[in-house]
Structure formats: structure tokens, C-alpha cells
């Protein structure tokens, strides 16, 4: 079983903090507006501290989930298919047979480029698993994986999927 590159934690933690910041900003901002402008005439004193506390808690949960996600994520290029294990709360184990691979992408978002990582996306014709993404790969590994999957998909010589 192959693990992701540990640097993916940086990406996930950054995203977690960033998103938590946005949500927390809204929460605290709304609380401030409500208590300061007098829209809510006799708002409880704990409103603003409560909102800050909630925002911080949510942020911590997000960070914990992002950290844990790395520990759970695994994938393996098996004989007949690509095997992926992921999910912090709902754990998902997916098998994508190479016969069913429609096309393979590798992509790099700005944050992935700054951390020197890449994502490989595998597309099938299925309705639920239409795209399976493997994040946290070094560009070389991503390139190699994409090439391997392409070769395996061609070798498997599937008939028409639909």
C-alpha cells in the first residue's frame, strides 16, 4: 500500500485553516453586528465570546480532520485495478478496474505547485465514482502513475463501457 507524500498535510492544513477562517469570520462578524449595532435589542453577553469559541472549535476540528486524513489515505496499483482507501468519518474503499478507466488527468493547483505536489484524477463512466482523485503525489510520481494507468488501461483492452 502506498502512502501519500507527507507534504500533502501542509496543503490540507492550509485549506482547513483557510476555510475555518472564512466560516469563523462570518460567525464572529455576524455576532458582532448583532450585538454592536443593536439589531438584537437584549442579546446575551456571551454572544461574541460564544461565537469566537464556536469558530475556534470548528477550526480545531477541521485541522484535526485534515491531519487524520493523511493517516487514513492509501492507494495501491494492483494487478487488475486501482485500489483506494480514504475517509475520516465515512471510510471508503474503492476498486476501479483498469478496464473501466476512461481517461486519466494529472493536475496541479496553485497551492500544490508551491508545495511541489500533484493530483492524478482517474475517470470512469460510472455514476458515483466518475472521478477518483489521488492527491499528494510528487510531480514525478504523478507523471509515472498517470503513464502506468494509461498503459494498464490500454492493456486491459476493455469493450465499450456503456
Amino acid at each position: 500500500m502506498e502512502r501519500l507524500n507527507p507534504r500533502i498535510r501542509v496543503v490540507w492544513l492550509f485549506l482547513a485553516v483557510f476555510r475555518a477562517g472564512i466560516v469563523g469570520g462570518f460567525l464572529v462578524g455576524a455576532a458582532l453586528v448583532l450585538s454592536e449595532t443593536g439589531l438584537w435589542a437584549n442579546s446575551p453577553d456571551l454572544l461574541v465570546p460564544g461565537a469566537i469559541g464556536l469558530a475556534v472549535t470548528l477550526g480545531l476540528v477541521r485541522v484535526a480532520v485534515a491531519w487524520r486524513r493523511y493517516a487514513v489515505w492509501r492507494f495501491e496499483v494492483q494487478d487488475d485495478g486501482l485500489y483506494i482507501e480514504r475517509g475520516v468519518f465515512t471510510r471508503i474503499k474503492t476498486v476501479v478496474p483498469y478496464v473501466r478507466v476512461q481517461h486519466v488527468d494529472s493536475r496541479r493547483s496553485p497551492i500544490e505547485r508551491t508545495t511541489g505536489l500533484a493530483t492524478v484524477v482517474v475517470y470512469t463512466a460510472g455514476s458515483r465514482s466518475a472521478d477518483v482523485a489521488i492527491p499528494g503525489l510528487t510531480p514525478e510520481r504523478a507523471e509515472q502513475l498517470r503513464e502506468d494507468l494509461r498503459r494498464l488501461a490500454i492493456e486491459s483492452e476493455g469493450e465499450d463501457a456503456v
Binding site: K93, P97, S127, V162
Partner: protein, 529 residues
């Protein structure tokens, strides 16, 4: 290159005028400055302008629209402002549907819709051609796909392919009794809205007359507003029910399913006519549904899923092969499409039932808490009453558990779930796209898991994929492995068949018996059992 039927300008104009005219009517109402006379003239002017724009557009649309059926593609050139040339390979076509709404039916026209697997909407719509042309296209589109290998033997293929037409085999025809049961018990989602409208029309838009005062007076407690309200609800439900029955009756009137060669052909409808083909070689999944009132009468429904329909097409996502019939008949027909053997489903482990019990207890707990909050905030009393529902929890948990099951057959995966709407899915292994093993935190606590055999069926987009819920997590992993192995095995078997078919197909081609080895061999392999 062919054009649409000239009368399609009229039909399209009328239906578009209604839309555009309405839009311009609203625009006119807003744009016109005060003054009653001026308003009327300007609104009328705007409506007229809207209609003219619509008609001009439709004439241009008609002039620009060209289609052609070639030996292996269907080509369409269309577009008034942005032009588009589209070529659909015939062997990629999934479904062909012919629809005749009221207006076009009056003119003897029909709309032809062609679906392929990709894309977010119907790939080709011909609105409208005459009925004869629609029939011809429906046949030729599939025939062309079959006869694609021997374009030069045009005449030979003509004679050969006309033969299956003669042996049109009637698979199912809805009986008046079945149609009646279906109409009475089906709840059409649009009916409640229409029912409300019908009710308000009947009462002349006056909400107070909605409640028949003379009837209410004779009943005890009529002085209270609650009884009047109850009456309103009853009347509304009644109206919705009647409308729903009428809509369902109209929809499934004269439902027929026939089999011509290697495809199914359905037709239905009283006022509007719908018909279409479902190629058997494109079938992804069979779904047998037994809704609660129907199941008690021993009835079920069958839907044949292909990859053809786009997401968001609602209940039309799959055309039902059988809207309602005796369960035995449904299974027999399903077997004639995919010859699966005895179905002997394995129930989830007993601890799954405990899980459902806990889940329902939590629901009841939430209700009691809500009731408690209501009693503290309002004058209502006895907020603990929902606690009575606890009695139902074991029953509900048991029923949920009993109606779930799965089986890995020789060539098919079977999954079943749902008490109210018991759905059994039959998925051929070679249609599986990916296998998912999912475990929520609650499932992990009880060492349970759900295994989904994902296919390209478009109906699964609505969250109804073939999933075996709450199996033991270890055996779930084994199931995942086995489905994957069987998929590979079936694919190898099919490949062997295909190669053999090609050899014999090559021989047959010279004798003119088997036009294309691809499709018939694929099916014969499945039917030999």
C-alpha cells in the same frame, strides 16, 4: 440532408408564443407607465411583438435545421445564432424516444429524441417530423447501427433486417385492472400543485368558499377553526388524488412493451403518445420495485436502466419496462431480458437491526425534545406524546432489516432495500464500473459496511445505485474482491465469445446470415442459459 416537417413551424411557434408572449406580457406590464388605456395598448403591443419574434425565430430555426441518417452516423446541423454541426455515431446511441404532445399530435407530428451516454442533456431532438418519418427513424437508427459493417450490401441488409420486424413479440400489455390500481394508488408529485389549482378554480378563487359550510355545520365541533382546517386538508388531498389518478391514467393508458430483435419497444399515453426503444445490449441494470400498497396486492414494477438519460430528467430518467404487473410476471419478464436464476438473498447480520432500532430511537428522542421545546414556548401541552412512537421502533427496525439483502450470483449481483418502496437491483458483473466499500462511523462501531456496485446507469445519479447495505465488514471486503474478480472473469468470457463470434461472423457475412458479430453474440451468450 433532410428538413423538419414544415408544420413544425406552426407547432413550435404556438408553444413558443405562449412562453415568449407571457414574458413580454410581464415586460409590458412593468414597462408601461400609468394610465389604463395606454397600459392596455402597450401591453398588447409587447405581447404581439413577442409573438412576432417567436414566429420569426421558429421560421429561421426551421430553415437552418438539417438532419441526415448516413450509414454509420446521424448528422444534425442546426442553430439560428450559434450554429452547430453534430455527428452521432449510430452504435453509440442508447435510447430513441418518440414523443407526441397534444398539440403536435393534432398536426400529426412527433418529436424524436436521441440519447447517448455522454453529455448533460438529450443529444439530438428533432422537433418535429411527421409520424411516418419518426417511425422510420426509430427503426433505421437502430438498424443502421446493426448493419454498419456492410454498407455496400445495402439491399441485402434491407431484406435481412426487415425480417425481425415481422416477429414482433408482445411482452407486456397493461390490463384495465392493473391500470385502475396503478391510477388509484400512484401519487404523482405534480398532482398536489394541480390539485390546489383545481380546487381554487372550483371554488371561484374565494378561499372562504373552499370550506363547504353546510357540510361543516352538521358535524360536531364545527365552530372550532380546527375542523374547518381539517376539512380543507381533506378536500385538498381529495382533489390532488383525483388529479393524480387522472394524470397517471393518461400517462400509462395503453402501455405496451414489445420485443423486436434485440431491442425493447414501448408505447403509452392517452392524450400525449410516448414511444421509444431500449436496446437490450445497452441495459445496465434491472430494477424491480414493489411499492407498499402494490406489494400488498402482489404487484411490482420493472425498470430497465441504460446510460442514456441525462441527470435531472426526473422520473423519466428510466422508462419503466412494466409500470405495474403481478410480481411473477415482472420477474418472468426481467428474466427474459437478463436470464438470472433463483434469487435467494442473504439478510444483513442481526446487529444491523439493532442499529436501525437505535437510529429510530434517536428520531423519537428528537421528536420528544422538539415537543418539549414547543410546550415551554407555546400554550400547547403534553409535548411528551411523541414518546408513544417508541412502541413502533422495534417493528420499524425489524421491517427495515427484513427488507434488506444481497446476493452475489453467478453472473449478477442482487441488492434489495426499502420497506415502503422495496427495490431489488439486478446488475450484470460485466456492467460494473467500480466497487465501493463504505463505512460510516456508526457502521464501524458495529463492524458493518455498505458495498456498492457502481454502473454507468443514469438512474443511479439520483442516489439509487445497487448497494448492499450493512453487511459484515469482513465479508464486505470479500464481496468487493469477488465482484471485481467476477467482472474480470465475465469480461474475459465475453471477449472469448466475441472473438469466436468474429470468426463465425466472418463466415456468416459471406452467406449473409449474421450481419454483425458484435451485438447478437453478446446477447446470445446471455440467453443460452
Amino acid at each position: 440532408m433532410k428538413k423538419l416537417h414544415p408544420l413544425s413551424i406552426a407547432v413550435r411557434s404556438i408553444s413558443r408564443s405562449v412562453n415568449v408572449g407571457l414574458l413580454f406580457f410581464i415586460a409590458g406590464v412593468f414597462a408601461s407607465p400609468g394610465g389604463a388605456g395606454g397600459t392596455l395598448v402597450s401591453v398588447g403591443g409587447m405581447v404581439l411583438l413577442g409573438i412576432v419574434v417567436a414566429v420569426v425565430y421558429e421560421v429561421a430555426y426551421y430553415e437552418r435545421f438539417r438532419y441526415e441518417l448516413t450509414a454509420d452516423t446521424f448528422d444534425v446541423a442546426s442553430g439560428v445564432l450559434a450554429r452547430r454541426d453534430r455527428e452521432v455515431p449510430l452504435r453509440r446511441i442508447q435510447n430513441v424516444d418518440v414523443r407526441q404532445p397534444v398539440l403536435s399530435r393534432l398536426f400529426g407530428l412527433a418529436a424524436v429524441h436521441i440519447e447517448t451516454a455522454g453529455g448533460g442533456q438529450t443529444e439530438v431532438s428533432l422537433q418535429y417530423v411527421d409520424e411516418e418519418e419518426a417511425r422510420r427513424l426509430r427503426r433505421q437508427l437502430r438498424r443502421g447501427a446493426r448493419a454498419e459493417d456492410d454498407e455496400d450490401e445495402e439491399s441485402a441488409s434491407e431484406t435481412r433486417d426487415s425480417s425481425p420486424d415481422d416477429e414482433e413479440e408482445l411482452l407486456f400489455e397493461i390490463e384495465p385492472r392493473e391500470l385502475a390500481i396503478l391510477s388509484v394508488f400512484t401519487i404523482d408529485p405534480g398532482a398536489s400543485l394541480l390539485g390546489g389549482i383545481a380546487l381554487s378554480f372550483l371554488s371561484g378563487f374565494d378561499p372562504t368558499t373552499l370550506i363547504p359550510a353546510d357540510l361543516v355545520d352538521g358535524l360536531p365541533g364545527a365552530e372550532g377553526g380546527l375542523v374547518a382546517l381539517a376539512w380543507l386538508v381533506v378536500l385538498f388531498l381529495l382533489a390532488a388524488w383525483v388529479v393524480s389518478a387522472v394524470l397517471t391514467f393518461n400517462r400509462y393508458y395503453g402501455f405496451r412493451l414489445t420485443r423486436v430483435g434485440d431491442e425493447l419497444y414501448y408505447e403509452r399515453g392517452l392524450v400525449q403518445r410516448y414511444s421509444g426503444t431500449i436496446p437490450l445490449e445497452k441495459v445496465q441494470t434491472l430494477t424491480i420495485t414493489e411499492r407498499v400498497p402494490f406489494r400488498w396486492f402482489g404487484y411490482g414494477a420493472l425498470a430497465v436502466e441504460t446510460a442514456g438519460y441525462a441527470p435531472g430528467q426526473g422520473s423519466r430518467g428510466t422508462e419503466s419496462a412494466i409500470p405495474l404487473a403481478g410480481y411473477d410476471r415482472v420477474v418472468r419478464l426481467a428474466r427474459s431480458i437478463e436470464p438470472f436464476g433463483e434469487v435467494d438473498l442473504e439478510a444483513p447480520p442481526k446487529r444491523a437491526r439493532e442499529r436501525y432500532g437505535v437510529r429510530y430511537l434517536l428520531v423519537v428522542g428528537t421528536l420528544v425534545a422538539a415537543g418539549y421545546l414547543l410546550t415551554t414556548a407555546t400554550a400547547l401541552e403534553r409535548g411528551y406524546l411523541p414518546a408513544v412512537l417508541v412502541v413502533l421502533v422495534p417493528v420499524a427496525a425489524h421491517l427495515k432489516w427484513r427488507n434488506r439483502g444481497h446476493q452475489l450470483g453467478d453472473r449478477y449481483v442482487f441488492t434489495r432495500t426499502g420497506f415502503w418502496n422495496r427495490t431489488t437491483k439486478v446488475v450484470p458483473y460485466y456492467r460494473v464500473q467500480a466497487v465501493l466499500h463504505t463505512q460510516s462511523i456508526f457502521q464501524r462501531r458495529r463492524r458493518l459496511a455498505s458495498v456498492t456496485a457502481d454502473t454507468a446507469s443514469s438512474a443511479s445519479l439520483l442516489g439509487r445505485a445497487a448497494t448492499a447495505y450493512d453487511v459484515d465488514d469482513e465479508s464486505g471486503l470479500e464481496m468487493q474482491l469477488e465482484i471485481e474478480e467476477r467482472l474480470q472473469e465475465r469480461l474475459r468470457a465475453r471477449k472469448r465469445e466475441r472473438t469466436v463470434g468474429e470468426w463465425f461472423g466472418g463466415q456468416n457475412e459471406s452467406t449473409g446470415l449474421e450481419p454483425n458479430s458484435d451485438t447478437p453474440s453478446d446477447n446470445s451468450e446471455e440467453f443460452e442459459r
